[in-house]
Symmetry: C2
Subunit: 510 residues, 2 copies
């Protein structure tokens, strides 16, 4: 396949497959490099103390009666929707039962992902109502785009996960599009995926479809779907999100409890204040999942960026969110749950140098902070308003580099290369020596997007920029796409379920 990244000798070479047409399998990254910690013990303890103070003195609003009942029984102070927590209560509930690491099963077991520990999982962009490509510019996303993004994510070895709302299929009614989204992930990919969170009923539909795909008992015993539960920051969780989180937790499925922060609007304009608020919100939301079903898998998430204090528009790839991301990763490690943040975020409207600088400025700190689950790792454009075909493959190329970086430095005898240095000696070159001959095929990352030719050759090739090359690449990929096999009986059962459910209530765009 033309788009497969190079194979690394000896490194997770789980590549033997019966189906020769299927894309290369690198199920997830195992980081062999240390975590970079910007805050020291004293700083982290300070943030934790402040989060505890927020939980105890100010409290969090839970706009969902069952949550209030759970927290009352657990010993919290309830005043209307406001929940105030005795010091250490949330942390104790979480540390008593939440897993430090868990496995999300994929329908292809070779693609199961480990979430937590030294592992990193990359998932594509989530949520944009628009798509953009070089040929047609920016337009509302359709289900056809959704399927295309699922297919491309399936074919890109550096994306370990099929993601969720890779774009909003705006041509389908709001109250029914989740069927087509979940089905697309199940049908056009065999990577793990995310479920619907926009209504508890849609969460139930997701779980029911998972039971058809994986089997009823399997779903209760294994995590097969991961779900994005955003807080309404500051310090509010709403009924829809909590209802969906409850459905998933009850069914042993994972929630990513994510304060959604544009600092200066949903949190203080400072990193330290933002981190304390994020930790407080996450502690409360994660504790809720553990009260619903102790031991159910859960991820401490956060989406945090800043805003332009001139225009109010969100900004990305700037230094302040990097500090927050890094600090929150440390706080999550201390809490002992997997962490989601980061991505390839940008404010740019097109996949230009601004987009690339901003994306690299987010994904590199994501990697060095040791983040476990990375949503928006590829394809994000325009502050999350557009999914970009070109940027999807451009970012994925970068993710391949991150994977090699995570392997760290090989210190084997072969890598030390003393015999090569002896053989070559001063004043000559290493191009033809035996060591180079033996190692050159796997020595260096080979990009699918970068042009490393001479200026003259590049001009002869049409003087293309990275976006033009990316445009060629994704089109070629869609041409070559072959769906992974799916048991026709399961496929039929899924389609039957969707048909029955869709016929049982009227279309609506609410």
């Amino acid at each position: 396949m033309s788009v497969s990244s190079r194979k690394r000798g000896g490194r997770r070479a789980r590549q033997s497959q019966s189906d020769a047409s299927a894309p290369e399998i690198i199920p997830y990254i195992t980081r062999r490099i240390p975590e970079y910690e910007l805050l020291d013990e004293e700083g982290l303890v300070l943030i934790e103390k402040n989060a505890d103070l927020i939980l105890k003195e100010i409290g969090i609003d839970f706009r969902y009666k069952p949550a209030l009942k759970f927290f009352k029984e657990a010993g919290a102070d309830i005043q209307g929707e406001r929940v105030r927590f005795p010091e250490g209560l949330c942390r104790q509930i979480i540390q008593d039962s939440a897993p430090r690491m868990f496995e999300q099963k994929a329908r292809n077991p070779k693609r199961n992902v480990m979430i937590g520990g030294k592992h990193t999982v990359f998932a594509p962009v989530y949520g944009p109502p628009f798509v953009r490509d070089l040929d047609h510019g920016r337009r509302y996303a359709m289900i056809e785009d959704f399927r295309n993004f699922v297919k491309l994510a399936y074919m890109l070895p550096s994306l370990h996960h099929s993601g969720g709302t890779v774009c909003e299929p705006t041509d389908l009614p709001v109250n029914k599009r989740h069927f087509d989204m979940v089905y697309s992930h199940m049908k056009y990919s065999d990577k793990p995926f995310m479920g619907s969170v926009t209504h508890p009923e849609r969460a139930e539909d997701t779980v029911n479809m998972c039971k058809i795909l994986f089997g009823e008992q399997f779903v209760d015993q294994h995590t097969v779907v991961v779900n994005l539960i955003n807080a309404n920051s500051p310090m509010v969780f709403d009924e829809m999100m909590l209802g969906a989180a409850e459905v998933y937790a009850r069914n042993n499925q994972a929630s990513i409890v994510s304060p959604f922060i544009l600092a200066g609007a949903m949190s203080p304009v400072t990193a330290a204040g933002t981190m304390a608020q994020i930790l407080a919100e996450a502690l409360a939301g994660i504790a809720f999942t553990q009260l619903v079903r102790p031991g159910s898998p859960v991820i401490f998430g956060t989406f945090a960026s800043s805003i332009s204090m001139q225009s109010g528009a969100p900004t990305f790839g700037t230094p302040e969110p990097s500090l927050v991301l890094n600090g929150c990763a440390s706080l999550a490690r201390r809490l002992g749950v997997p962490f989601r943040s980061g991505g390839s975020l940008c404010a740019s409207k097109i996949p230009d140098a601004q987009a690339a600088y901003e994306s690299a400025n987010t994904i590199l700190p994501t990697i060095t902070a040791g983040i476990h689950f990375v949503l928006h790792a590829a394809g994000w454009l325009e502050g999350g308003l557009a999914s970009s075909y070109e940027k999807l493959v451009m970012d994925a190329d970068q993710l391949g580099m991150m994977q090699v970086f995570c392997s760290g430095t090989d210190l084997s005898e072969n890598a030390q290369a003393l015999d090569a240095i002896r053989e070559v000696g001063p004043g000559t070159h290493f191009l033809g020596c035996e060591h180079t001959q033996n190692n050159f095929k796997t020595a260096f990352f080979r990009s699918n997007i970068a042009d490393n030719n001479s200026f003259e050759q590049w001009e002869l090739d049409g003087a293309m920029d990275a976006v033009a090359r990316a445009n060629k690449l994704w089109k070629q990929m869609l041409k070559e796409y072959q769906a992974p096999a799916l048991d026709p009986a399961i496929d039929e059962a899924l389609l039957d379920y969707i048909h029955q459910r869709k016929s049982s209530f009227a279309d609506s765009n609410i």
Copy 2:
């Protein structure tokens, strides 16, 4: 001034200046974040052991008689030009006298830079024979371009240093262009700068011009020029470079002893082998400077990237050079001398997304590795063959972000923002609260290049990409440029010296 980056409250606010037209002064970065170390003690000791073995068994060729004499006296084994070093000899020579940190004086004392320790100094691109801008594409560089790059670097607060060969003035004879280059740095900027290294006589000219600018005694007692001494890797130092290094060391001026590595050609294809060879070459070259004049300032440098094993072309921003850069920074810290590496490197022929990804992939690891002197920090394009006007200001914008990142997380009471969180509480927003009002002006990095407006506003503004905005910016800057004052007597003396010297020998392009 339209191009000044925002002021950070309390953070190095050395901004009071008598001349209101002069650009903002941020003399250098002081890193308040820890160094990220990818290799552990065991790994670093292994690389050091291998470097010692290279120095002892294989040796380094010094194609310069005075160097052979110095090393013989110091106890090395000399066979022809090959110098083999008893174990630990180079390290001992260096640690006996080389400074861990030193100050390079600028003609404006507010712009003196500290090189070493927790400090980082950014200098522009060095060496390209071509320039590129959006209006005229790629062309041979002229002295007019050279002056423009010096002026722009002077005006960009995130560049702390004027650099050296910001581009090659190809319209001037090779054997005389150093006069115009050094003079341009002295005349059009008051930032610290670099000298000529292409011939020992040109190094002498540089020192002589420095004596005119700074005074004779001052130059002997202070470091006023930093100079790039490349090794001819593998394991060779040539006569020209060593002769220049000798001139500078004798005059107490600084050399950056830099193995120049494209791994796979000038070193083994592996990171561990490359690092051992770099360390061996650097140890030998640095020791030479200390034998010339013990205590003279010296920087462990390295330029290391990989090559495409398909085309032989250099590649940048890939993961392997990041590993080498990070490891070498650790090795330099252990040796106890300042370290130069990194930059905003790229292979792309234009300042597109490829250029930005690759540059960010180099400059961020540069920062987290704690590198002291960063050549090529802005303006590098096309593997170093072209200096780009647009990329100069685009990269400089990124360097401003790196500076904020290096400040780390403010943990002051104001930054903790607990009162703000109390005031705002759940379910509202922070936009109007007192804490936001008091802090928003300095809260977030403000880019000169990024467009963070809405899609609609961006379209109304002409749907420009980052390069188009950068093009406007540098042209506006050159329009606004005002030269820093220079004593007319010194200026005249410099021009006299140049005139006399230029008349004393014929033009030549060798």
